[in-house]
Protein backbone atom coordinates (compact mmCIF):
# COMPACT_ATOMS: atom_id res chain seq x y z
CA UNK A 1 0.00 0.00 0.00
CA UNK A 2 1.14 3.50 -0.84
CA UNK A 3 -0.27 6.49 0.97
CA UNK A 4 -0.95 9.32 -1.48
CA UNK A 5 -2.19 12.90 -1.35
CA UNK A 6 -5.19 14.38 -3.14
CA UNK A 7 -3.01 15.71 -5.98
CA UNK A 8 -2.05 12.11 -6.80
CA UNK A 9 -5.63 10.85 -7.09
CA UNK A 10 -6.71 12.34 -10.43
CA UNK A 11 -3.69 10.99 -12.35
CA UNK A 12 -4.65 7.41 -11.41
CA UNK A 13 -7.61 7.70 -13.82
CA UNK A 14 -7.84 7.84 -17.61
CA UNK A 15 -10.67 8.44 -20.06
CA UNK A 16 -12.52 5.25 -20.89
CA UNK A 17 -11.60 3.42 -17.70
CA UNK A 18 -13.91 1.02 -15.94
CA UNK A 19 -14.39 2.07 -12.33
CA UNK A 20 -16.01 -0.12 -9.68
CA UNK A 21 -17.29 1.68 -6.61
CA UNK A 22 -18.47 0.82 -3.14
CA UNK A 23 -21.60 2.36 -1.69
CA UNK A 24 -25.35 2.00 -1.45
CA UNK A 25 -27.39 5.06 -2.37
CA UNK A 26 -24.20 6.98 -1.73
CA UNK A 27 -23.51 5.65 1.77
CA UNK A 28 -20.04 4.10 1.64
CA UNK A 29 -19.04 5.78 -1.62
CA UNK A 30 -15.78 7.79 -1.38
CA UNK A 31 -17.04 11.34 -1.97
CA UNK A 32 -13.57 12.88 -2.12
CA UNK A 33 -12.41 10.49 -4.83
CA UNK A 34 -15.58 11.13 -6.85
CA UNK A 35 -14.88 14.86 -6.57
CA UNK A 36 -11.26 14.35 -7.64
CA UNK A 37 -12.50 12.37 -10.65
CA UNK A 38 -14.81 15.24 -11.59
CA UNK A 39 -11.92 17.70 -11.24
CA UNK A 40 -9.73 15.50 -13.46
CA UNK A 41 -12.13 16.09 -16.36
CA UNK A 42 -12.48 12.39 -17.20
CA UNK A 43 -14.80 11.13 -19.91
CA UNK A 44 -16.37 7.95 -21.26
CA UNK A 45 -16.09 6.14 -17.95
CA UNK A 46 -17.77 2.82 -17.23
CA UNK A 47 -19.12 2.72 -13.69
CA UNK A 48 -19.93 -0.53 -11.90
CA UNK A 49 -21.72 -0.42 -8.56
CA UNK A 50 -25.06 -0.77 -6.87
CA UNK A 51 -26.73 2.48 -7.94
CA UNK A 52 -26.12 5.98 -9.25
CA UNK A 53 -26.35 7.68 -5.89
CA UNK A 54 -28.73 9.85 -3.85
CA UNK A 55 -29.97 10.67 -1.25
CA UNK A 56 -26.23 10.77 -0.40
CA UNK A 57 -24.45 12.02 -3.57
CA UNK A 58 -22.34 8.88 -4.20
CA UNK A 59 -21.33 8.81 -7.87
CA UNK A 60 -24.13 11.20 -8.87
CA UNK A 61 -21.71 14.13 -9.60
CA UNK A 62 -20.06 12.00 -12.32
CA UNK A 63 -23.49 11.32 -13.83
CA UNK A 64 -24.53 14.97 -13.58
CA UNK A 65 -21.34 16.09 -15.35
CA UNK A 66 -21.84 13.44 -18.06
CA UNK A 67 -18.53 11.69 -17.48
CA UNK A 68 -20.12 8.26 -17.69
CA UNK A 69 -20.99 6.45 -20.91
CA UNK A 70 -21.83 3.09 -19.40
CA UNK A 71 -23.26 2.07 -16.04
CA UNK A 72 -23.75 -1.42 -14.61
CA UNK A 73 -26.01 -1.18 -11.55
CA UNK A 74 -29.05 -2.66 -9.84
CA UNK A 75 -30.96 0.55 -9.29
CA UNK A 76 -31.03 4.02 -10.85
CA UNK A 77 -34.41 5.23 -9.62
CA UNK A 78 -33.14 7.60 -6.93
CA UNK A 79 -31.11 9.68 -9.40
CA UNK A 80 -33.44 11.04 -12.12
CA UNK A 81 -30.49 12.31 -14.21
CA UNK A 82 -29.45 8.71 -14.86
CA UNK A 83 -32.82 7.76 -16.33
CA UNK A 84 -32.95 10.93 -18.38
CA UNK A 85 -29.53 10.31 -19.95
CA UNK A 86 -30.44 6.68 -20.53
CA UNK A 87 -33.72 7.58 -22.27
CA UNK A 88 -31.85 10.13 -24.40
CA UNK A 89 -29.43 7.42 -25.51
CA UNK A 90 -26.47 9.18 -23.91
CA UNK A 91 -25.84 6.64 -21.20
CA UNK A 92 -25.81 2.87 -21.67
CA UNK A 93 -27.29 1.21 -18.57
CA UNK A 94 -27.09 -2.50 -17.78
CA UNK A 95 -29.37 -3.44 -14.91
CA UNK A 96 -28.40 -6.48 -12.85
CA UNK A 97 -30.33 -7.72 -9.80
CA UNK A 98 -28.50 -6.57 -6.68
CA UNK A 99 -27.66 -10.06 -5.42
CA UNK A 100 -26.49 -11.07 -8.88
CA UNK A 101 -24.44 -7.91 -9.27
CA UNK A 102 -22.54 -8.30 -6.00
CA UNK A 103 -21.99 -12.00 -6.71
CA UNK A 104 -20.64 -11.19 -10.20
CA UNK A 105 -18.20 -8.78 -8.57
CA UNK A 106 -17.21 -11.41 -6.00
CA UNK A 107 -16.74 -13.90 -8.85
CA UNK A 108 -14.50 -11.46 -10.71
CA UNK A 109 -12.32 -11.04 -7.67
CA UNK A 110 -12.24 -14.72 -6.77
CA UNK A 111 -11.02 -16.37 -9.95
CA UNK A 112 -14.37 -18.03 -10.63
CA UNK A 113 -15.78 -18.22 -14.13
CA UNK A 114 -19.43 -17.71 -13.25
CA UNK A 115 -22.23 -18.95 -11.03
CA UNK A 116 -25.77 -20.25 -11.26
CA UNK A 117 -28.49 -18.16 -9.66
CA UNK A 118 -32.25 -18.68 -9.61
CA UNK A 119 -32.73 -14.90 -9.62
CA UNK A 120 -34.02 -13.56 -12.92
CA UNK A 121 -35.24 -16.85 -14.41
CA UNK A 122 -38.24 -16.12 -16.60
CA UNK A 123 -37.64 -12.36 -16.63
CA UNK A 124 -35.90 -9.94 -19.00
CA UNK A 125 -32.72 -10.52 -16.99
CA UNK A 126 -32.53 -13.89 -18.72
CA UNK A 127 -32.03 -12.36 -22.19
CA UNK A 128 -28.78 -13.46 -23.81
CA UNK A 129 -27.86 -15.72 -20.90
CA UNK A 130 -27.48 -19.47 -20.59
CA UNK A 131 -30.23 -21.17 -18.59
CA UNK A 132 -29.30 -24.43 -16.89
CA UNK A 133 -31.29 -26.96 -14.91
CA UNK A 134 -29.51 -28.46 -11.92
CA UNK A 135 -31.25 -30.76 -9.47
CA UNK A 136 -34.61 -29.96 -11.06
CA UNK A 137 -34.37 -26.20 -10.60
CA UNK A 138 -33.68 -23.61 -13.29
CA UNK A 139 -30.77 -21.20 -12.96
CA UNK A 140 -29.11 -18.48 -15.02
CA UNK A 141 -25.38 -18.61 -15.62
CA UNK A 142 -24.09 -15.20 -14.60
CA UNK A 143 -20.57 -14.08 -15.47
CA UNK A 144 -17.86 -12.30 -13.47
CA UNK A 145 -17.30 -8.55 -13.44
CA UNK A 146 -13.95 -6.80 -13.01
CA UNK A 147 -12.76 -3.23 -13.44
CA UNK A 148 -9.60 -1.27 -14.12
CA UNK A 149 -9.83 0.51 -10.79
CA UNK A 150 -11.92 0.22 -7.63
CA UNK A 151 -12.80 3.15 -5.37
CA UNK A 152 -13.48 2.34 -1.75
CA UNK A 153 -14.58 4.22 1.36
CA UNK A 154 -13.15 2.98 4.66
CA UNK A 155 -13.50 4.18 8.22
CA UNK A 156 -9.93 3.23 9.07
CA UNK A 157 -6.83 2.00 7.25
CA UNK A 158 -3.51 0.96 8.74
CA UNK A 159 -0.19 1.59 7.01
CA UNK A 160 -0.37 -1.81 5.31
CA UNK A 161 -3.79 -0.98 3.87
CA UNK A 162 -5.84 -3.22 6.14
CA UNK A 163 -9.34 -1.74 6.20
CA UNK A 164 -12.28 -1.43 8.57
CA UNK A 165 -15.69 -0.16 7.43
CA UNK A 166 -18.32 1.60 9.50
CA UNK A 167 -21.83 0.18 9.88
CA UNK A 168 -23.91 0.00 6.69
CA UNK A 169 -21.19 1.84 4.75
CA UNK A 170 -19.56 -1.59 4.33
CA UNK A 171 -22.00 -2.89 1.64
CA UNK A 172 -20.21 -3.38 -1.72
CA UNK A 173 -16.81 -2.13 -0.54
CA UNK A 174 -15.10 -5.40 0.55
CA UNK A 175 -16.11 -7.14 -2.68
CA UNK A 176 -15.17 -4.28 -4.97
CA UNK A 177 -11.74 -4.28 -3.29
CA UNK A 178 -11.06 -7.71 -4.78
CA UNK A 179 -12.20 -7.23 -8.34
CA UNK A 180 -10.07 -4.47 -9.85
CA UNK A 181 -6.52 -4.13 -11.12
CA UNK A 182 -5.92 -1.06 -8.94
CA UNK A 183 -7.59 -0.42 -5.59
CA UNK A 184 -7.84 3.15 -4.29
CA UNK A 185 -9.18 3.82 -0.80
CA UNK A 186 -10.43 7.00 0.86
CA UNK A 187 -10.07 6.50 4.61
CA UNK A 188 -11.40 8.65 7.43
CA UNK A 189 -8.38 7.69 9.52
CA UNK A 190 -4.96 6.13 8.95
CA UNK A 191 -3.49 4.31 11.94
CA UNK A 192 -0.21 2.56 12.65
CA UNK A 193 0.28 -1.05 11.59
CA UNK A 194 -0.83 -3.33 14.39
CA UNK A 195 -3.54 -1.00 15.68
CA UNK A 196 -6.25 -3.03 13.96
CA UNK A 197 -6.66 -6.46 15.56
CA UNK A 198 -6.11 -9.15 12.89
CA UNK A 199 -9.54 -10.68 13.63
CA UNK A 200 -11.23 -7.35 12.89
CA UNK A 201 -9.67 -6.57 9.51
CA UNK A 202 -12.48 -6.46 6.94
CA UNK A 203 -10.31 -6.06 3.83
CA UNK A 204 -6.71 -7.34 3.95
CA UNK A 205 -4.11 -4.74 3.07
CA UNK A 206 -2.58 -6.84 0.30
CA UNK A 207 -5.61 -5.94 -1.81
CA UNK A 208 -5.07 -2.20 -1.47
CA UNK A 209 -2.78 -0.16 -3.73
CA UNK A 210 -3.37 3.44 -2.62
CA UNK A 211 -4.89 5.13 0.44
CA UNK A 212 -5.79 8.81 0.61
CA UNK A 213 -6.93 10.48 3.83
CA UNK A 214 -10.47 11.88 3.62
CA UNK A 215 -10.56 15.70 3.44
CA UNK A 216 -12.75 16.32 6.46
CA UNK A 217 -9.79 15.14 8.56
Amino acid sequence: MKRIGWADVGPLFRDGMSVMFGGFLGTGTPAGIVQAMCDADLHQLTLIGNDSGLPVPGVSPLIAERRVSRLIASHIGTNPATGKQMMAGELDVELSPQGTLIERIRCGGSGLGGFLTPTGVGTVVEEGKTRMTVGGRDYLLELPLRADIAIIKAKRADRLGNLVYDRAARNFNPLVAMAADVVLVEADEIVETGEIDPDLVMTPGVLVDYVVLARSN
Binding site: F24, S74, G77, T78, G83, G99, I102, T123, P174
Partner: protein, 224 residues
Protein backbone atom coordinates in the same frame (compact mmCIF):
# COMPACT_ATOMS: atom_id res chain seq x y z
CA UNK B 1 -60.20 3.72 6.60
CA UNK B 2 -56.72 4.34 5.15
CA UNK B 3 -55.87 1.65 2.58
CA UNK B 4 -52.19 1.55 3.53
CA UNK B 5 -53.06 1.10 7.21
CA UNK B 6 -55.47 -1.76 6.44
CA UNK B 7 -52.85 -3.52 4.34
CA UNK B 8 -50.06 -3.06 6.88
CA UNK B 9 -52.30 -4.15 9.75
CA UNK B 10 -53.34 -7.33 7.96
CA UNK B 11 -49.79 -8.18 6.81
CA UNK B 12 -48.58 -7.74 10.40
CA UNK B 13 -50.65 -10.78 11.37
CA UNK B 14 -48.47 -12.94 9.14
CA UNK B 15 -45.40 -12.26 11.31
CA UNK B 16 -44.37 -15.14 13.55
CA UNK B 17 -42.14 -14.95 16.56
CA UNK B 18 -38.50 -15.45 15.54
CA UNK B 19 -39.05 -14.62 11.88
CA UNK B 20 -36.38 -12.88 9.83
CA UNK B 21 -38.24 -10.40 7.65
CA UNK B 22 -37.29 -8.08 4.82
CA UNK B 23 -39.71 -5.24 4.14
CA UNK B 24 -39.73 -3.40 0.82
CA UNK B 25 -40.08 0.36 0.65
CA UNK B 26 -43.51 2.01 0.83
CA UNK B 27 -46.46 0.37 2.56
CA UNK B 28 -44.42 -2.63 3.81
CA UNK B 29 -42.39 -0.32 6.05
CA UNK B 30 -45.60 0.43 8.00
CA UNK B 31 -46.04 -3.22 9.00
CA UNK B 32 -43.92 -3.14 12.21
CA UNK B 33 -46.36 -0.57 13.65
CA UNK B 34 -49.05 -3.25 13.80
CA UNK B 35 -47.13 -6.32 14.92
CA UNK B 36 -48.25 -7.74 18.26
CA UNK B 37 -45.80 -6.96 21.08
CA UNK B 38 -45.49 -10.70 21.82
CA UNK B 39 -44.13 -11.35 18.33
CA UNK B 40 -40.45 -10.56 17.89
CA UNK B 41 -39.17 -10.39 14.37
CA UNK B 42 -35.69 -9.50 13.15
CA UNK B 43 -35.70 -7.07 10.25
CA UNK B 44 -33.12 -7.56 7.52
CA UNK B 45 -31.99 -4.61 5.43
CA UNK B 46 -30.52 -5.73 2.13
CA UNK B 47 -27.84 -3.04 2.19
CA UNK B 48 -26.19 -5.17 4.83
CA UNK B 49 -27.56 -5.76 8.29
CA UNK B 50 -29.93 -7.65 10.52
CA UNK B 51 -31.65 -6.01 13.48
CA UNK B 52 -32.96 -2.86 11.88
CA UNK B 53 -34.97 -0.77 14.31
CA UNK B 54 -36.61 2.60 14.49
CA UNK B 55 -34.50 5.71 14.83
CA UNK B 56 -33.78 6.14 18.51
CA UNK B 57 -32.01 9.34 19.29
CA UNK B 58 -29.37 10.73 17.01
CA UNK B 59 -28.96 9.68 13.39
CA UNK B 60 -25.74 8.07 12.15
CA UNK B 61 -24.95 8.81 8.51
CA UNK B 62 -23.82 5.20 8.04
CA UNK B 63 -26.91 3.58 9.56
CA UNK B 64 -29.48 3.81 6.81
CA UNK B 65 -32.11 1.44 5.48
CA UNK B 66 -32.36 0.06 1.95
CA UNK B 67 -34.16 3.26 0.95
CA UNK B 68 -31.19 5.31 2.10
CA UNK B 69 -33.13 6.74 5.06
CA UNK B 70 -31.65 6.97 8.58
CA UNK B 71 -32.75 4.15 10.84
CA UNK B 72 -31.66 2.51 14.08
CA UNK B 73 -30.04 -0.75 15.11
CA UNK B 74 -31.57 -3.11 17.68
CA UNK B 75 -29.36 -4.59 20.40
CA UNK B 76 -27.78 -7.69 18.90
CA UNK B 77 -27.76 -6.31 15.36
CA UNK B 78 -25.23 -7.75 12.92
CA UNK B 79 -23.66 -5.91 10.00
CA UNK B 80 -22.13 -7.53 6.92
CA UNK B 81 -21.23 -6.93 3.29
CA UNK B 82 -23.63 -7.13 0.35
CA UNK B 83 -22.44 -10.57 -0.75
CA UNK B 84 -23.41 -12.06 2.61
CA UNK B 85 -26.61 -10.01 2.63
CA UNK B 86 -27.78 -11.62 -0.59
CA UNK B 87 -26.41 -15.02 0.38
CA UNK B 88 -28.83 -14.76 3.31
CA UNK B 89 -31.66 -13.63 1.04
CA UNK B 90 -31.17 -16.16 -1.76
CA UNK B 91 -30.18 -18.93 0.63
CA UNK B 92 -33.55 -19.12 2.35
CA UNK B 93 -32.39 -17.48 5.56
CA UNK B 94 -35.08 -14.79 5.27
CA UNK B 95 -38.41 -16.23 6.38
CA UNK B 96 -40.61 -13.61 4.82
CA UNK B 97 -40.45 -10.66 2.49
CA UNK B 98 -43.20 -8.10 1.98
CA UNK B 99 -43.08 -6.03 -1.18
CA UNK B 100 -45.31 -3.74 -3.13
CA UNK B 101 -46.62 -4.78 -6.53
CA UNK B 102 -47.67 -3.23 -9.82
CA UNK B 103 -49.29 -6.46 -11.03
CA UNK B 104 -49.73 -10.00 -9.73
CA UNK B 105 -51.28 -12.75 -11.79
CA UNK B 106 -53.12 -15.94 -11.02
CA UNK B 107 -49.95 -18.01 -11.47
CA UNK B 108 -48.24 -16.05 -8.72
CA UNK B 109 -46.08 -14.08 -11.13
CA UNK B 110 -45.13 -10.63 -9.90
CA UNK B 111 -44.32 -7.42 -11.75
CA UNK B 112 -43.11 -4.59 -9.56
CA UNK B 113 -39.96 -3.09 -10.96
CA UNK B 114 -40.56 -1.32 -14.25
CA UNK B 115 -43.04 0.23 -16.64
CA UNK B 116 -41.38 0.22 -20.07
CA UNK B 117 -40.90 3.69 -21.46
CA UNK B 118 -42.09 5.33 -18.25
CA UNK B 119 -40.32 4.09 -15.14
CA UNK B 120 -37.12 2.07 -15.21
CA UNK B 121 -35.73 2.42 -11.70
CA UNK B 122 -34.04 -0.98 -11.77
CA UNK B 123 -34.88 -4.07 -9.79
CA UNK B 124 -32.50 -3.40 -6.89
CA UNK B 125 -32.81 -6.37 -4.54
CA UNK B 126 -36.43 -7.19 -5.38
CA UNK B 127 -35.75 -10.08 -7.77
CA UNK B 128 -33.45 -11.79 -5.27
CA UNK B 129 -35.88 -11.22 -2.41
CA UNK B 130 -38.91 -12.74 -4.10
CA UNK B 131 -36.81 -15.62 -5.44
CA UNK B 132 -34.99 -16.42 -2.21
CA UNK B 133 -37.23 -15.57 0.73
CA UNK B 134 -39.17 -18.53 2.10
CA UNK B 135 -42.45 -16.69 1.83
CA UNK B 136 -43.44 -13.73 -0.34
CA UNK B 137 -46.29 -11.38 0.48
CA UNK B 138 -47.33 -8.71 -1.98
CA UNK B 139 -48.84 -5.77 -0.15
CA UNK B 140 -50.52 -3.39 -2.57
CA UNK B 141 -53.64 -1.40 -3.21
CA UNK B 142 -56.22 -3.50 -4.99
CA UNK B 143 -56.60 -1.26 -8.06
CA UNK B 144 -54.61 1.29 -10.00
CA UNK B 145 -55.32 4.99 -9.55
CA UNK B 146 -57.63 4.74 -12.55
CA UNK B 147 -59.53 1.86 -11.01
CA UNK B 148 -57.94 -0.80 -13.20
CA UNK B 149 -57.28 -4.29 -11.88
CA UNK B 150 -53.77 -5.15 -10.66
CA UNK B 151 -54.56 -8.79 -9.94
CA UNK B 152 -54.64 -10.24 -13.42
CA UNK B 153 -54.95 -13.41 -15.43
CA UNK B 154 -51.49 -12.72 -16.75
CA UNK B 155 -49.05 -9.90 -15.92
CA UNK B 156 -48.52 -7.42 -18.76
CA UNK B 157 -45.47 -5.67 -17.29
CA UNK B 158 -41.96 -7.17 -17.19
CA UNK B 159 -41.82 -9.75 -14.42
CA UNK B 160 -39.84 -9.58 -11.21
CA UNK B 161 -40.05 -13.36 -10.83
CA UNK B 162 -42.29 -16.28 -11.79
CA UNK B 163 -44.55 -18.22 -9.42
CA UNK B 164 -43.13 -16.41 -6.43
CA UNK B 165 -46.11 -14.85 -4.65
CA UNK B 166 -47.57 -16.74 -1.68
CA UNK B 167 -50.04 -14.16 -0.38
CA UNK B 168 -51.62 -10.99 -1.73
CA UNK B 169 -52.89 -8.47 0.79
CA UNK B 170 -54.87 -5.45 -0.41
CA UNK B 171 -57.21 -3.04 1.35
CA UNK B 172 -60.10 -5.15 -0.03
CA UNK B 173 -59.01 -8.75 0.25
CA UNK B 174 -56.50 -11.46 1.05
CA UNK B 175 -55.63 -14.07 -1.57
CA UNK B 176 -53.55 -17.12 -0.76
CA UNK B 177 -51.86 -19.00 -3.59
CA UNK B 178 -51.80 -22.79 -3.57
CA UNK B 179 -50.68 -25.22 -6.26
CA UNK B 180 -53.94 -24.68 -8.19
CA UNK B 181 -53.95 -20.90 -8.18
CA UNK B 182 -55.40 -18.06 -6.11
CA UNK B 183 -57.87 -18.51 -3.29
CA UNK B 184 -59.84 -15.59 -1.88
CA UNK B 185 -59.68 -16.09 1.88
CA UNK B 186 -60.65 -12.78 3.43
CA UNK B 187 -62.49 -9.60 2.58
CA UNK B 188 -62.15 -6.29 4.40
CA UNK B 189 -65.00 -5.09 6.61
CA UNK B 190 -67.76 -3.70 4.39
CA UNK B 191 -66.36 -5.30 1.24
CA UNK B 192 -68.38 -8.07 -0.42
CA UNK B 193 -67.21 -11.01 -2.48
CA UNK B 194 -68.87 -9.30 -5.45
CA UNK B 195 -66.89 -6.08 -4.86
CA UNK B 196 -63.68 -8.11 -5.00
CA UNK B 197 -64.82 -9.96 -8.13
CA UNK B 198 -65.50 -6.65 -9.90
CA UNK B 199 -62.03 -5.29 -9.11
CA UNK B 200 -60.06 -8.45 -9.90
CA UNK B 201 -59.18 -9.67 -13.39
CA UNK B 202 -57.76 -13.05 -12.33
CA UNK B 203 -59.50 -16.37 -11.95
CA UNK B 204 -59.62 -17.43 -8.35
CA UNK B 205 -61.51 -19.76 -6.05
CA UNK B 206 -63.37 -18.58 -2.98
CA UNK B 207 -62.39 -20.34 0.22
CA UNK B 208 -65.29 -22.17 1.90
CA UNK B 209 -63.98 -20.46 5.05
CA UNK B 210 -64.14 -16.96 3.53
CA UNK B 211 -64.04 -14.52 6.43
CA UNK B 212 -63.70 -10.88 7.30
CA UNK B 213 -60.20 -9.44 7.82
CA UNK B 214 -59.31 -8.88 11.45
CA UNK B 215 -58.29 -5.25 11.77
CA UNK B 216 -58.46 -4.92 15.54
CA UNK B 217 -54.94 -3.61 15.80
CA UNK B 218 -55.76 -0.61 13.60
CA UNK B 219 -57.96 0.46 16.47
CA UNK B 220 -55.28 -0.43 18.99
CA UNK B 221 -52.83 1.71 17.13
CA UNK B 222 -55.30 4.58 16.86
CA UNK B 223 -55.57 4.52 20.64
CA UNK B 224 -51.79 4.63 21.14
Amino acid sequence: MDAKAVIACRVAQEMQDGFVVNLGIGTPTLVPNYVSPEVHVTLQSENGFLGMGPLNGETNANIVNAGGQPCGLQPGAAIFDSALSFALIRGGHVDLTVLGGLEVDQDGNLANWMVPGKMVPGMGGAMDLVTGARRVIVAMEHCTRNGGAKILERCTLPLTACHCVDLIVTEMAVFRRDENGLVLEEVAPGVTEQDVRRCTAASYRVAPTLREMNLERIGARAIL
